[in-house]
Symmetry: C2
Subunit: 300 residues, 2 copies
């Protein structure tokens, strides 16, 4: 017999490709979690409620607040939650209520953050930042959130002062699967020394990056460069170029890297090699803490 | 009634995505041309002969030499034509005979060129370079061949001294169709001023390129950046980064840009803005002249 899950509220991280949900008790205990691949990118507006019910239906025994973050709040999402503008607190705008037919659902979507000049946007990361700040009161510094679109975020006095997005993760995925480099790059495997080489090369001479990419293919053809080595070197090249471009963010700052294990570790390692010690923060814990902070704000 | 085409020989440019053929008379007159999308990438080894016959069959009235260049000579091509190594003449290695069942076909494939350190390869461009040098005896300088994989080639005393490949064309195509930028970049349209802005930005601060890409998406979302403007700016950014990285090639050199109209003009314009006048050369004419030079070499 399965125990009945009766959450006080439900937290949801609804991105482009995936959705994850957590059932939380009144005291903040995690009761259950669930996830699916019904991300925002696969749904039209009418598809969000069924997708959510498929995931959290068994947890609903009466009206239940749902706090959601991520692309679910974009123009193509369940409800558009207009961006708050920097400088602002990470939970800087009002939660947007999403319409649902099921009376048990009371869905509230956390707005993303925009920066007008230079233009930039985030959706989802603001919740992780809120979570990190909730757990580290008074923390000032720079938060790096590696992912498909890595964010560098300057935080001061509880506010997001400025931020910048790098498409490093998407570039890596696209280069290794959609271009001629796919013939020379393995789909997995790793080589620490090759990562370090690529990192040092692109960080030291970022202006040369445009000319480094095809070398991975040519070395594969001419010198049998192993696919795992090519993979790690490309990762190093792209992260090295990002660190060079993001230097005004991280230089001389206190740094926290919020992200999933392996990728976040790469950033921490890369930063360490350039004399910038960074703290690695568990992404899921930060998301949950941020959703919790938003829920408390809602409850007033 | 269609006049019968009776070429002395046939030239073929067989790339990854397309194949083009020219029927040439003994005196070098172009008699006819044909093309199809049966590029190397779509064919297995047994597919090349039927694809060629479908294209040039009507021109065959007896044994006819066929001179082919491009990816048809790669490991995945009709026959592997081993690379000649730099420094070498652009037609620096022996033509590779390709097997055919049809006795009218005598196919010879021009080898590509490799550079061992730093590793790089070309297939097809060597023929255009040979053609340009055949038409410009004694020319020394740098040849830029823009395309999917743009090449910068240092030529001296009739030899290819060194070269470097940039994936600029493939990056542009991939970024505009396979990444989040596709939502903000038009499939056509142009904006000269936006190209110039991107060019100046990336050329002047190439280390910032990694951070410029997502701006195109964010400006689309926040400031309604027109899709054609985003398209032109991205092109400028990528070509600007390439010019910065390729500077050791072109600075202070005589420059020829061999390529198709619009793209070659962008490179000529971009170089002119950095004080480097370049001559634009018709790509098809260069290919034909190169195939002709190879045919003459074969005839001895």
């Amino acid at each position: 017999m399965t125990a009945t899950i009766t959450p006080a509220w439900i937290g949801v991280d609804w991105g482009t490709s995936h959705v994850r949900a957590w059932a939380i008790s009144a005291s903040g205990t995690l009761l259950a979690q669930a996830s699916s691949d019904r991300g925002m990118g696969r749904l039209d507006r009418a598809g969000f409620e069924p997708a959510l019910l498929a995931l959290v239906g068994p947890w609903l025994h009466g009206p239940t607040p749902v706090i959601a973050c991520g692309m679910v709040g974009s123009r193509q999402g369940w409800v558009e939650a207009p961006y708050a503008a920097t400088p602002c607190a990470p939970l800087g705008g009002p939660l947007a209520p999403a319409c649902s037919d099921d009376p048990r659902l009371a869905v509230h979507v956390i707005p993303g953050i925009k920066q007008l000049h230079p233009a930039d946007v985030m959706r989802g990361e603001e919740t992780q930042i809120a979570g990190y700040l909730a757990q580290n009161k008074g923390w000032d510094g720079v938060i790096c959130l590696p992912g498909t679109h890595t964010k560098w975020v300057h935080v001061s006095a509880g506010e997001i002062v400025s931020f910048q997005t790098f498409m490093t993760g998407e570039l890596f995925a696209t280069l290794t699967t959609q271009t001629v480099l796919r013939h020379s790059i393995a789909t997995d495997g790793w080589d620490d020394a090759a990562f370090d080489t690529g990192l040092a090369d692109a960080y030291g001479r970022p202006e040369k990056l445009a000319g480094r990419l095809f070398s991975l293919r040519a070395e594969g053809l001419l010198h049998d460069l192993p696919g795992a080595t090519a993979r790690a070197r490309l990762s190093g090249l792209l992260i090295g170029a990002e660190l060079a471009a993001a230097k005004p963010y991280w230089l001389g700052q206190q740094i926290a890297v919020i992200g999933a294990g392996a990728l976040a570790r790469l950033y921490v390692t890369a930063l360490a090699q350039h004399g910038a010690p960074a703290t690695q923060v568990n992404a899921e814990a930060a998301t949950l803490a941020g959703l919790t902070a938003a829920y408390r704000q809602l409850k007033g």
